[in-house]
Amino acid sequence: MKSERPNVTALPKSPIVLSIIQRYGLAVLSVSVAFGVSLVTERYNFRAEFTPFLLAVAVTAWYAESGPGIVALIMSSALFDYFFTEPRYTLEVSASDVPRFVVFVAFLLLITWFGAVRRRVERELRQSRDDLENEVTQRRAVNEELAKRSAELQAINKELEAFAYSVSHDLRAPIRHIAGFTELLQKNSASVLDERSQRHTTMILESAKKMGNLIDDLLAFSRIGRAEAHKTMVSLQQLVQEAQSEVAQETDGRNINWKIGRLPACYGDRSMLRLALINLLANAVKFTRTRPQAEIEIASTNHNPDQIVVSIKDNGVGFDMKYVNKLFGVFQRLHATEAFEGTGIGLATVQRIVHRHGGRVWAEGLVDGGATFYFSLSKSQGV
C-alpha cells in the first residue's frame, strides 16, 4: 500500500524563538543603523526624513514583537527629535513634531498587529501540521494492520480453496467406489442375495448418491463464496426464462400455470443470478408438487428507485413463519426428506448470491398456503 506523505516540510519544525536579549538587541541595533543611515544621508544633503527610523521600528516590531518595538519607537523619537528636528541638539518637542510622533505610533501598532497575525497563523499552521502528522502516523499504523489482516485472510482463503479442492477430488472418489461396487454386487449377486440384503444394497446405493449430491451442492455453495463476481447489466426477464426452461424437465406432465411479469434489468453477475433464480424456481416447482393446479408467479415490485425487488410466489405447501429464520441456513430443511427431496443448500446458495450483490432475501409463508420469496438487488453499479 502506498502511504501518501503530505508536504509539510515547508514550515520549520520549531519557530525561530529569539531570546529577550536578542529581541531588545535587535531594537537597539536597528535604531542605530537607522540613525547611521540618517546621518549619512543628511551629510549628502539628501533628507530621508524619518523613513529609516520607521523601517527600524517596523523591523523590530515584526521580528521582536511589541516590547522591543516600543523601545525602538522611544529611541527613534528621541534621536530624531535630538538630531534631526529644529531646534537641533535639544529634546524640545514642538507642536509640529506631534504628527510625526503619531505616524510613528500608528506605524508601530500596525506592524505589531501584522506580526501578531503572522504569529497566530504560523501557530495554527504548525498545529494543523502536527495534527496531520499524527493522523498520517495513525493511518499508517491502520494501513499496516489492514495489510496484515488482508494477508492473513488471503492465506486462510487459499487454505479453504485447497480444502474445497481436496473435498472435490478425494471425497468423491470413495463415494463413487461405494456406489459402483454396490451396483456390481447387486447386478452379479442378485441370485444369492435374499430380499433383505437386496434392500440393504439399495439403501447403500441411495446413501452414496445422496452423499454425492451433498458434496456437489456444498462445493457449488463454497464456490460462490470464493468466485470473483463479474458484474454486468443483466436482463432479469431473460434469466427467468432460462431458469424456467432449466427446471422444465422437473415439470413434465404437471399442470403449472406460470405468470411472469415484466422484470427490469439489473447490475450483477449473470451466472450467479441465474443460479439463484434456478434454485428459487426449482423450489416453487418442488413444493407445489402436491397441487393439482400449481400457480407460480414471478413479479417485480418496485417502490424504491435504486432497488429492484423480485418476488416468486407459489401456491405450494408453504411453511410455518415460526421457522422463517431457519429457511436460509445451510443444511436446514423444513420438510421430511421422504416428502420433498433436497440437500438444504439451495436457499443458502440464494442468500449467499444475493448478499454478494448487496441485496437482501426474505420470505413469507403459510402452512399449506403457499410461499413467497423476495430478493432485492441494486439497480445501478453503486454496489
Binding site: S168, H169, R172, A173, I175, R176, A208, D216
Partner: protein, 150 residues
C-alpha cells in the same frame, strides 16, 4: 503383444482401475487396456524407458489420464506429452474426479482432447467410460504410429 494396449489408462486408485475395466469389459475392450499407476510410469511407457524399454514403437490410440497422481501429476504428464513433437498427436482424455474449473481450463490450455468428470452414479460412470472407450479405441481414426486394430 503383451506390452501393447490401445488404451493407456493412467490411474493410481486400484478401485477406479477395476471399475473402469469393468465398464470396458462389456464391450470387450478391457484386454486393450494398459495401466500405468502414476505419471512417471505413464511417461516411461510413452518414452520407452525403464520397464518399457523393449516395447514396440507403436503408441496407444488414446490416453485416459487421471489428474491426481503420485510422483508426476496428470497435468504435468499432459504438458510433457503435448510439448513433445512425437507424442503430441496421441489423443489425451482427462478422466478425473475434479469438478474444478481451474483444472479444466488448465487441461484445455495444455491441449487436452477431452475432459470428462467421473460421474458419482455408477451407471453414468459405466456409460461415460464405455463411450470413451468405443469412441477413442474403435470409432476414432488414431494418428499414424498408433496401435491399429488388426
Amino acid at each position: 503383444m503383451s506390452n501393447l494396449g490401445r488404451i493407456l489408462l493412467v490411474e493410481d486408485d486400484p478401485k477406479d482401475v477395476e471399475l473402469t475395466l469393468t465398464a470396458l469389459e462389456e464391450y470387450k475392450l478391457a484386454n486393450e487396456v494398459l495401466i500405468a499407476r502414476d505419471g512417471e510410469e505413464a511417461l516411461d511407457y510413452l518414452y520407452r524407458r525403464g520397464n518399457f524399454a523393449t516395447r514396440s514403437t507403436d503408441n496407444p490410440a488414446v490416453l485416459l489420464l487421471d489428474l491426481k497422481l503420485p510422483k508426476v501429476d496428470g497435468l504435468e504428464v499432459l504438458q510433457q506429452i503435448k510439448a513433445d513433437a512425437k507424442l503430441k498427436l496421441i489423443p489425451v482424455v482427462v478422466l478425473t474426479s475434479s469438478h474444478e474449473e481451474r483444472d479444466m481450463v488448465t487441461s484445455y490450455k495444455l491441449g487436452v482432447n477431452a475432459y470428462v468428470v467421473k460421474p458419482v452414479d455408477f451407471h453414468e460412470f459405466v456409460n461415460a467410460v464405455k463411450e470413451l472407450g468405443i469412441f477413442w479405441a474403435l470409432v476414432n481414426e488414431p494418428p499414424p504410429g498408433s496401435v491399429k486394430k488388426s
